[in-house]
């Protein structure tokens, strides 16, 4: 199994897609609830596996293009088939996942094994009949959107109009139509004329869930820009600029690095957005630009370790975050296979661990605690014992239920709310 690089539920929550470092996509499907086991709300089993991207070589630059899947986004369902977009650093692909459970038999011109029949053998005309067969799930690439990004793609986002989507790399954001692969529109370009003047890059971008003309993008300097595509074709001028003023007392050489936003997500309501930087998660009201309305500390105990984390590059880890179905809770990952959940009202936070040790299937998760200094209580773990190789970067929340998917390196964990 390869390292999981993205996790995403579809709009219904019945399908869960994961992408990995090897370019593969694995889709899990929820079992239908049966009358015999009403308390088990359906387990997820492998539904389809396919190779989405292959490693490529850019001959002009003599560089490898990694096949790692950076993001997967589902399209809203329009017919019996499922569609998703998957992207690596350079190319976005639209995949169609369809089921086949019937087979046609009794062709006139073909034998059962597919060979063409001799014309003189065709003595009568018959109507082919459909016979059931074992379920086969096929994935086929329907569109390939390539050659539009010079830099590494970090985000894709499907628009609420269900016809367009955006793709963002370090310096540019492009707008695509799902039907058209040979053309895309550049809507944001922050590349300076002189690359030596580059001080800021785009880190994430997302369309508003309801307003199809609005999108946001975050930067490595901890700012978020909201753009309205009605104002101009090129959205270099933002409509809103979100930035929290820096606290001068906590300024250090690492201030900028830890302020870099690794993920931005709109709430389901569309009224708020959430940003994840290295040490915290912030909730912003779209109507207030000068500061976030809520700030949650994910692992404040790491603030005194920033120098070491800079040395071993952990400070550059990009954590994602997600909203619960009702926007009442937010979730994000941390180190040592810990992940954090924050209830917004009333304020409450929990640390849980995604690991097989001490956790039997269907057992309640035990809350964990990290102690920073002094005596370590029983069951607590000290900061120095944390395993920084076990990082939870990717998490997803079911669109309607309290069901979460947590990717811990090459394992996928699924947790659900306790059933009373």
């Amino acid at each position: 199994a390869d390292i999981i690089s993205t996790v995403e539920f579809d709009y219904s929550g019945d399908l869960l897609a994961t992408g990995d470092k090897g370019g593969r996509v694995v889709i899990f499907q929820r079992e239908q609830e049966t009358k015999s086991r009403p308390h088990f709300r359906g387990e997820y089993n492998v539904y389809s596996t396919f190779q989405s991207h292959e490693p490529e070589f850019d001959y002009l630059k003599s560089l490898e293009i990694e096949e790692k899947i950076n993001k997967i986004r589902w399209l809203p369902r329009q017919n019996a088939a499922h569609f998703l977009l998957s992207t690596n650093d350079k190319t976005i692909k639209l995949w169609k996942i369809s089921e086949r459970d019937k087979r046609a038999e009794g062709y006139n011109l073909k034998d059962e094994d597919g060979r063409l029949r001799e014309p003189f053998r065709v003595t009568e005309l018959r109507v082919p009949t459909l016979k059931p067969m074992d379920l086969m799930v096929e994935a086929s690439p329907r569109r390939i959107f390539a050659n539009a990004h010079t830099y590494h793609i970090n985000s894709i986002s499907v628009n609420s109009d269900h016809a367009t989507y955006l793709s963002a790399d370090d310096l540019r954001i492009n707008l695509w139509h799902l039907e058209i692969t040979n053309r895309s529109f550049n809507i944001v370009d922050i590349k300076p004329a002189n690359m030596e003047e580059l001080t800021e890059v785009i880190t994430a971008a997302e369309f508003h869930p309801h307003q199809c003309n609005v999108f946001v993008y975050s930067s490595s300097k901890g700012t978020i820009r909201l753009c309205d595509m009605r104002s101009s074709a090129l959205c270099d001028q933002h409509s809103k600029f979100f930035e929290e003023p820096e606290d001068p007392s906590s300024r250090s050489f690492f201030s900028e690095i830890i302020s870099s936003i690794s993920d931005v997500k709109f709430s389901h309501s569309g009224r708020y957005m959430m940003t994840r930087d290295y040490l915290s998660v912030k909730v912003w009201d779209l109507n207030m630009e000068n500061r976030p309305v809520e700030t949650y500390q994910v692992h404040e105990y790491l603030r005194s370790k920033l120098c070491s984390l800079y040395e071993n590059d952990c400070i550059f880890d990009k954590f994602e975050c997600c909203w619960s179905a009702s926007d009442s809770t937010i979730m994000t990952g941390s180190y040592n296979n810990f992940f954090r959940m924050f209830d917004r009202n009333p304020r409450r936070d929990t640390t849980l661990e995604a690991s097989r040790e001490g956790n039997k299937p269907r057992a309640m998760l035990k809350p964990r605690k990290v102690c920073t200094a002094g005596k370590r209580k029983k069951d607590e773990i000290s900061v120095d014992s944390l395993d920084f190789n076990k990082k939870i970067l990717h998490t997803a929340w079911h669109p309607t239920e309290n069901f979460i998917a947590v990717a811990a390196t090459n394992n996928l964990y699924l947790f659900q709310d306790k059933i009373n």
């Binding site: 003599s62 990694e66 250090s252 690095i257 870099s260 070491s308 040395e311």
Partner: protein, 249 residues
């Protein structure tokens, strides 16, 4: 837990380095930490993966950190201090000048980035014993004493250094941007790969800079310890020798 054999103090926030005697005593420690952070950052910038494109976001963040340190150092006036001590500057130039090697051999041949040498350098070149990575040692060692010379004798103002530094930083960025096929082959053919091992680099840099800062110019005898394959280490030894001569004169 993850620091490889190096104990380093983490700094959280800035110390107040103005005013009190205690504050003045704390200056070398803070400067040392800042210098080691600077060295670490430059090494990170240069350790670009040659086969896969480097992460632009990471590079930008590290470059911004470097700029920030440099600005603070200029403001403090410690930039001058470091010039006279020369170790920091030398290691800085060393790290920066190896960037030249990331360029295509065509550029080097045209002499675009290789500086014009004075008579001082000629003697130095003849002293070179190493065969592997000869290009590296020649280019970098020559570069360093040239600046060193100007530091000690001409008392360069910080502005000029800043300009050089900025230029070097820009060169690094350009390197990250433009990777020509030639540079990749050159790199693999001429350069000892151990140079790009972060551990070797850091160990080499740290031990030398630490010495320089703490003990001043007198104790420049850098230990010729384990990393015999680390060419930069041996270059620094040569450099120390040169500096000793300069200082005593």
């Amino acid at each position: 837990m993850f620091v490889r054999g190096l104990k380093r103090k983490c700094f959280d926030g800035e110390e107040d380095i103005e005013g009190t005697l205690a504050g003045i005593k704390a200056i070398p420690s803070y400067n040392l930490q800042r210098q080691s952070l600077l060295d670490m950052s430059l090494v990170k910038l240069q350790l670009c993966h040659m086969l896969v494109e480097p992460n632009l976001c990471r590079s930008v963040l590290i470059a911004n950190t470097v700029r920030q340190i440099q600005e603070e150092m200029t403001q403090d006036g410690t930039w001058q201090m470091i010039n006279t001590q020369s170790t920091g500057q030398a290691s800085l130039d060393r790290l920066v000048s190896t960037d030249i090697l990331c360029r295509s051999s065509r550029d080097q041949a045209e002499g675009k980035h290789v500086p014009s040498y004075g008579t001082f350098n000629k003697d130095f070149e003849s002293d070179q014993a190493q065969d592997s990575s000869e290009t590296m040692s020649t280019a970098s060692s020559v570069q360093a004493p040239r600046n060193l010379q100007s530091n000690v004798w001409e008392m360069e103002n910080p502005q000029e250094n800043k300009g050089n530094f900025q230029k070097s930083l820009d060169q690094i960025f350009e390197t990250l941007e433009n990777k020509s096929p030639n540079s990749v082959e050159d790199l693999f053919s001429e350069v000892d790969n151990s140079y790009y091992d972060l551990d070797t680099m850091l160990t080499g840099m740290m031990s030398n800079t630490k010495m320089g800062h703490c003990d001043g110019l007198e104790t420049f005898s850098s230990p010729t310890n384990t990393a015999s394959n680390s060419n930069c280490k041996s270059d620094l030894n040569e450099l120390d020798h040169i500096v000793e001569i300069l200082v005593e004169s």
